[in-house]
Amino acid sequence: MDLDDSQEQAEYRAEVRAWIAEHRFEAPPGTGDMEDAAYIEARRTWQGQLSDARLVGVTWPAEFGGPGRGPVDQVIVNQELAAAGVPGGIDVIGLGLMGPCIMVNGTAAQKERYLAPMLHGDEIWCQLFSEPAAGSDLAAVQCRARRDDDGTWRLTGQKVWTTNAQFARFGMCLARTDGDQPKHKGLTMFIVPMDADGVTVRGLRQISGEAEFNEVFLDEVAVGGDEMVVGGEGGGWGAALTVLMYERMMIGLGTEGFGYSPERFAGAVAASPRMDRESGLRTRLADVVVELLAVRFRGLESLSQLADGRVPGPEFGLAKITTVNAVIAAGDLIADVNGPDALVEPGEWAYLISFLPGLKSAGGAEPILRNTVGERVMGLPPEPRLDKKITFDELVARQREGLAA
């Protein structure tokens, strides 16, 4: 039972820390206006510097230009960057998800063309998966792709919850190429140049009023020929699964990164004399603290597993459920204790309270995560599925009928 670094890790940490100490004054601020081109440019340049120092894409294999280190080393880099108050690479989607997706599913030419500029921050990526009618049920995407006579693929549809779309150079888009197949078949993954004709990006404001995500509209967008297909025609679902696996890992290891620490929330109520007096307030604080402490040690446990070369399984979704619900409870407690003034906007706690309801469904709604854990971890039988043995077009028709009935 040892939370300290191994000697090798300690050496790596020292090296990372030294580099950051030397260059931290060149870094842009960690938060800024993501609509501001100058700020984006500064962050992109900073990613390039980090990349030159081999401090982004730490787990990327050497053959794709990465340092090829283990996931614990990536965590060490994250910790050191956070401790110095310095941002990491701006292209979290590319580095964490789209890069690995191309490494696993892409052609040699695609790897050659896209990975190096992605790592260096020269070309930023976004993920065009979710749609208004395909969130939890991702395989229900309706964005259609059809091939022109000259071999050009044309995409039409609407995507949503797209982080970084407003300045991305490329999007990885899941689209339906064959409606006569069952829903999980007939899907294909495309690389979409975000500056192509017919691509419209619109900010999607959340409860707080801030646009954390975007909607992306595709109107007969000509993306190019088969060189833009990742994972082969009809192989879209397999390629998407790769991304979902990496996404789970990102969420599982990232909770402390959101600043959701028990100390922060205890600090927000500690000044009130009501804490010592009124019924239930201390118990509610204890509930928040105990859940977030548990998440912290669950995170350390999985780092231990990663260090052992084992990848965390789907039970990692439980840490997300615990975190989201504990932070909702924390926001509730803080506003109960500090009264309406805790809800001032803009303000730290109003923002937290506004942000959490969206986080609850992001990265898998709670019932879906519980289904996954129940079935894949505990071996409980799945629910009967009505959508697997019929073609997608028939399925859509049946839903229309169901609504009309």
Partner: protein
């Protein structure tokens, strides 16, 4: 045995619904978030409907209905997030009427708008006899204090987050005079009165922090029970309003659960969604039953009003928190976006539960009353 609404009550409720249907209050709630200060003025419609005089005695030109009837109107207001000065007006009007104050008649006619500045009666748990008010920083602080100079009265103190205070002509302030509570009338424009308008998170709720510094006041001839009653009326009205909002949340969530499909089925067919909606219904029905408890107590068992109003406030506040969150959850990500209506109900829930003593304060009060009753029962049994 009859807990069903009377024909008159149904008519009053339907009339309220009719008045409110002329305004798109939900769209106005969003608009006010974008552009503060743009809420439509519903006060004239409210006056036409007779709401300011609802609980004012007939001899003062009022309709002389009871608390429960006012709660029926509050429920309708809550359903559509209407921004009508009501929660703050009704208890003030009641005190003016009980005190036979000359402002009672113009209040009933809508010519003068009073606002109740709430103070919470001492709990049976606390040994000392302290009336408290909401502090600006969330703490409970002592109620304002009376200073007498011969026959001239003045009042000094601060009360945070008073609903409906902006724009009021008169303040009906509960203050402490030599250890006992009195209800005072203070002119909103008098020297030593500062009414600092505020909104927080829910743009439909106009509030003010009120600072009184030696403001001239006249005393209302109300009993201590009347003054406590005003607090419980405010609790009951907030409860009824919350029940209305829960009703709307549930209707919206249920409709969506029938039309949204995932994995080939309407999402309302999944137990996770279905049971969550049923849980909202359970909470709604319980909260509404507790409104009946208040109505019954107000009419037939005045000693039970404190407990009934606290129970209703607690139950409905918890129900609204659950329902507003559930409305977002059922919609998934889209429910957490600015364009959707769900966040408007969520914002209402977030602010309301922290006003006028808070939902948690009502729970504490309910527990204190229950314990005090149980202890009195033991004592009574011992004496017998």
């Amino acid at each position: 045995m009859n807990l069903e609404l009377t024909d008159e009550q149904i008519a009053l409720r339907d009339a309220a619904r009719g008045v409110l249907s002329r305004f798109d209050t939900v769209a106005a709630a969003r608009e006010a978030l974008e552009t503060p200060g743009t809420l439509p003025d519903l006060w004239p419609a409210s006056v036409d409907a007779g709401w300011p005089g609802l609980v004012v005695a007939e001899r003062h030109g009022g309709i002389e209905l009871g608390l429960f009837e006012a709660m029926l109107v509050a429920e309708e207001l809550g359903k559509v997030l209407a921004s009508v000065p009501f929660i703050g007006v009704v208890p003030a009007a009641a005190l003016l009427s009980l005190g036979d104050h000359p402002a009672a008649a113009p209040t009933a006619e809508g010519e003068l708008r009073p606002v109740y500045v709430p103070a919470c009666p001492p709990s049976p748990r606390v040994d000392d006899d302290v009336w408290t008010v909401d502090g600006i920083d969330g703490e409970r602080i002592a109620a304002p204090v009376v200073h007498r100079d011969g026959s001239a009265w003045s009042v000094t103190g601060t009360v945070g987050w008073v609903p409906d205070a902006p724009g009021a002509d008169l303040l009906v302030v509960v203050a402490i005079d030599d250890g006992r509570p009195v209800a005072l009338v203070v002119d909103a424009g008098a020297a030593g009165v500062e009414i600092e308008s505020e909104t927080r998170y829910d743009a439909t709720r106009r509030m003010a922090n009120i600072h009184l510094d030696g403001a001239v006041a006249t005393a209302l001839s109300c009993s201590e029970q009347d003054i406590a009653g005003a607090w419980y009326s405010a609790q009951a009205l907030l409860a009824a309003e919350a029940v209305g909002t829960v009703d709307t949340c549930l209707a919206l969530a249920t409709a969506y659960a029938k039309e949204r499909f995932t994995f080939g089925r309407a999402i309302g067919s999944y137990q996770a969604i279905k049971h969550e909606l049923v849980e909202t219904l359970r909470r709604l029905q319980n909260a509404r039953a507790l409104l009946l408890n208040v109505g019954w107590a107000a009419g037939a068992a005045p000693d039970d009003v404190s407990m009934a109003a606290s129970a209703a406030r607690y139950s409905s506040g918890q129900a609204l928190d659950f329902a507003a969150r559930s409305l977002i959850n059922v919609h998934g990500g889209i429910g957490a976006t600015w364009e959707h209506d769900a966040p408007l109900y969520f914002r209402r829930a977030q602010l309301s539960r922290r006003l006028v003593g808070g939902v948690g304060g009502a729970a504490d009060r309910l527990a204190d009353e229950s314990l005090a009753r149980a202890r009195r029962a033991v004592e009574a049994a011992g004496v017998r």
